[in-house]
């Protein structure tokens, strides 16, 4: 990928990701509402919410927290850009993790106990989801011999066939990353938790919008991750992603929030069984395959 292409891809991601994710959030809210037998908001409601948040008064409990939030947004965008220009998968994962750490630090910066509890919950969620993300990078490497996203998506064979466990594992932690029940410990998009969610307690108007925006960038990046499994067949990929997202919404609407212990334990077990298991099988297959 040459430089012009890279810059174009980066710009496209920066501009299109929030639009796409916002629309997705709108669809999410309508489907959620229908599952709850409600009419639900209009499709563009997430955008209305975002613009409204940007217009709200800035009340700062602690300015440092805001700095960290910008870090969250910035590093999430960097992770996304790195991914969509076909860069190094490891850098993507680390930048994404760094972004989340900034978010946690932002919440820790305020003195409120709620904010601290929320930040601790978010850290636990990071601990639960990060191993699977790193493992998936290893899976891609073993399968394709490269950490470069560009190399991975330009391969002609369908990676889902050899990495089904990785895919399942990623879908599992996607529930954590998308903040869906039963794994919505630190924050969620449920009507009641909109105000109550711990980690964002001490942030106001525009900063909440920044968090939402960063979350949107993150969502598109994670869906991009899943896209890699189906890269040669774009239509199948779109269908699979839609199915995955629908399952996430369904899970959100049919589960209670579980304890953090449960989230951590189950996601690690799932990572170990599906992710690491897949890796081991793949490793032996590739060893056995090469003469």
């Amino acid at each position: 990928m040459n430089l012009t292409h890279a810059i174009l891809a980066a710009l496209l991601y920066i501009v299109a990701a929030p639009v796409l994710a916002g629309l997705l959030a709108g669809v999410d809210r309508i489907i959620s509402a229908r599952m709850q037998a409600r009419i639900g908001p209009p499709l563009l409601q997430p955008f209305y919410d975002l613009f409204k948040l940007f217009q709200k008064e800035r009340i700062a409990v602690n300015k440092t927290g805001h700095f960290f939030l910008l870090g969250y947004l910035l590093f999430t965008i960097i992770a996304g850009v790195e991914f969509f220009i076909g860069g190094d998968l490891l850098i993507v994962i680390f930048a994404l993790a760094l972004g989340s750490v900034f978010f946690v630090l932002g919440a820790f910066a305020a003195g409120s106990p709620y904010s601290h509890i929320g930040a601790e919950r978010e850290l636990i969620q990071l601990m639960a989801s990060e191993p699977m993300l790193i493992l998936s990078a290893m899976g891609f490497y073993v399968a394709t011999g490269s950490f470069q996203v560009h190399d991975i998506w330009s391969r002609p064979d369908l990676l889902i066939v050899i990495l089904p466990g990785m895919f399942a594992g990623l879908v599992y932690v996607l529930t954590i990353k998308l903040r869906k029940s039963p794994f919505d410990l630190a924050t969620s998009h449920h009507a009641h938790q909109e105000i109550v969610k711990g980690i964002t307690t001490e942030f106001s108007g525009p900063y909440l919008a920044v968090i939402e925006l960063a979350h949107w960038y993150e969502t598109i990046l994670l869906l991009g991750f899943l896209y890699l499994f189906f890269a040669p067949w774009p239509w199948l990929a779109v269908l699979a992603l839609a199915a995955v997202y629908f399952l996430e919404i369904l899970a959100d609407n049919t589960n209670a929030r579980l304890y953090w212990q449960w989230v951590l334990r189950s996601s690690w077990i799932f990572t170990a069984v599906a992710g690491a298991g897949n890796l081991v099988v793949l490793y032996y297959l590739s060893r056995g395959g090469t003469p």
Binding site: P113, Y114, I117, H192, V196, D252, N255, R257, Y259, W262
Partner: protein
Amino acid sequence: MANRTVIPFGPQHPVLPEPIHLDLVIEDEHVVEAIPSFGFIHRGLEKLAEKRDFTEFTFVAERICGICSYIHGMGYCQAIESVMGLEIPERAKWLRTMWAELSRMHSHMMWLGLLGDAFGFENLFMAFWRVREGLLDIIEETSGGRVIFGAAKVGGIRRDVPDDLLARIPAQLAKIEAEMRPITDVFRDDFSVRQRLCGVGVLSQKDAYDLGAVGPVLRGSGVAVDTRLEGYAAYDRVQVEPIVESDGDCWARAMVRIREVYQSFEILKQVLPNVPAGPVDMKVTGAPNGEFFARLEQPRGEVIYYVKGSGKKQLDRFRVRTPTFANIPPLLKMLQGCQLADVPVIVLTIDPCISCAER
């Protein structure tokens, strides 16, 4: 060593939409002690009784609480009637029973939804509230109000319900019952729900009794006390069995309420066809002179109305002991040793109505 922190819980923070403040002493995510504070919205309603005409005070009594409103009004009237020795008409007694049960059902349904919300199950919350709408429609059609019935009156009831309407209600109730089955099954069977409720906030049978718990909290811990058995209104002529669960945890309390809703359907099946014809109120002359403690079963538990009059239009003393008030000491017991994430759920399982606890 374990790190102790104090987490302030409520009332400004909307974790729990009730004006109670709990200082939670936390040791590694476990609650060691909970210290409540009240008095954020104390309204002095008991004092207000000393300046209102005793018949007019019915309106105030009905507004002690927004959810168990009807039984508050009815209990107040019952206390006054007992002091004055009034025997109200039969039709009024049966209609009171009907409304009391409708009120219990809608309160329990609301609570079940709120409990779902407390553990982050948004869909369950919406589902119960949706089904509850059907009950509110019946209430509105019969009494004119959706949550504040406005139907209580010293000496009977304020409005009659036409017989053709009474004949239509059973079909509506049957529809609601059918809609309810699948979602109450969720409470009973769903994996994630059971994870959050079973074994959480256990209150032993002895503690429940000794600490003066009432209503579903007491029955959830295996004590069969139900004030409806005392047979006020028309309860002496319908079949009422106390609903008892033995586990004493949050799940048991939820089960008690679910089964009570179904029990209310059964009670209404006995009540509706048996409402006798006749007048619904009687003329009340004079003023109460004497005292009486009336006990009724509210959705939240046993409630006490004390009325003392000395032959004047204004009462000397009116007191109501709401079930939430009696359930506070057991709540503090339940909270000890629970996880932080369980606090909203446990607080909710006493069905707190702090506003009505602070008359």
